[in-house]
Amino acid sequence: MDKTVKDLASAVAGIEDGMTVMIGGFGGAGGPIELIHALIDRFKATGHPKDLTVVNNNAGNGHVGLAALIEAGMVKKLICSFPRSADPVVFTERYLAGQIELELVPQGTLAERIRAGGAGIPAFYTPTSFGTDLAKGKPVEVFEGRSYVRERWLKADYALIKAQTADLHGNLTFRAAARNFAPVMAMASAVTVVQAAQIVAPGQIDPENVHTPGIFVQKIVEVANAVQEEDLNRAKATYPLEG
């Protein structure tokens, strides 16, 4: 078994107009910047994919990664918990101009909806958001005297995530807190595409230390010296590179 694809363009080739794409990362940690930029390259060359629904904790920063995807006009709807940050210029402008739809989800509910999507659980009850504006219209049930809000699973056509090491079977390890949403997004997506700092032979990752088993992964591509969103933004980078 060998799930590697030959380059970034091949890795994102199957993403079509109107698809739902989960993108890993929290702030600068775990963002699959090279995969996102490969998707933007395809859009610049072909006009596709567009009208994407993107699931991420945030709404991007600066003019790279997810922010650049939004800036390119490829995103119809964003499902996220915190679309405000230090430099959210792109999303803020589009949102206030009514050009992008937002589904705001509490962060833990977002993680659990994705987990449920990957685990075959269509709905679950959570105490989070009970009695707030974000629970409006959702069924409520009382368990052991407390009220809980029913939330639905969240699934995607594709997930784009970043790992430290992948083996050819797609077994993954993540680096530090770059793990965040990646394991649950890998579970919840029909096709999970991984950019890994290194790809190794099966057996090279100790089975005790596999963070995400390869059954949740469909495509892997090696990106040896991946950039960090935080570093790009500190350098005021934009994508595509100006000029």
């Binding site: 705001l104 962060q107 974000l134 530090a176």
Partner: protein, 222 residues
């Protein structure tokens, strides 16, 4: 009028964190509480993005941007730290595994309702982990100025801003007092000695109930 600085409010809140406690501090002002962990006690800090037992910020230039907190600031790890994914992180939050969450507030109502995520319909709404954090921790404490910048009470009968959670706050540490929420009432526990009960009540938007001793709120210069 004498009042506590933010550092002093954070210091007071830190005194109630027991040895061995698992603690989540909200982004911003609540992060200060970590600086005042009581000597001889060990608290383990949790961050929503998947770290237990993180410590101080690294020196400038030493940042590892894969090791950040929920405020997206670089942090360091203490011995015994762990990483985990987001679903596990929020299982820790909602599953009742945290001993205390300490959060900021726009308004707290006498029944324990908290408003701390939205100031109204303008701009881009963002909730993050606020609505999750108010459920599940064994204690949900708030640290806040006693009044707004315009001098209006932040402790109120009923929140006017969008709620983060219903009936979730158990204790409020303000710039003037320490107040518990017990059965839908503000019960005064400590107040600055320089302030009379009448003066404090005038700055509070709901009745301050006396039920048991009220001691002086004493905090060192910081």
């Amino acid at each position: 009028m004498q009042k506590l600085s933010n550092n002093q409010i954070a210091w007071r809140a830190a005194q109630d964190i027991q040895d061995g406690a698992y603690v989540n501090l909200g982004i911003g002002f609540p992060e200060k509480v970590a600086q005042y962990t009581v000597e001889g006690r060990e608290a383990i800090f949790h961050t929503e993005n998947g770290i237990l037992n993180f410590g101080e910020s690294p020196a400038p230039g030493e940042e590892d941007w894969d090791v950040i907190n929920a405020g997206k600031k670089a942090v360091t790890l203490k011995p015994g730290a762990s990483y985990f994914h987001h679903a596990d992180s929020f299982a820790m939050v909602r599953g009742g595994h945290l001993d205390v969450a300490i959060l900021g507030a726009y308004e707290v109502a006498e029944n324990g309702d908290l408003a701390n995520w939205s100031t109204g319909p303008k701009g881009v709404p963002a909730v993050g982990g606020a609505m999750d954090l108010v459920h599940g921790a064994k204690r949900v404490a708030v640290i806040t100025d006693h009044v707004t910048k315009d001098g209006k009470p932040k402790l109120v009968k009923q929140c006017s801003l969008p709620l983060t959670g219903v009936g979730c706050v158990t204790r409020v540490y303000t710039s003037l007092a320490v107040i518990d929420i017990v059965e839908g009432r503000f019960v005064l526990r400590e107040k600055l000695a320089s302030m009379s009960l009448e003066e404090l009540q005038a700055l509070t938007g709901a009745e301050l109930v006396i039920d048991g001793p009220v001691t002086d709120l004493v905090v060192p210069e910081l």
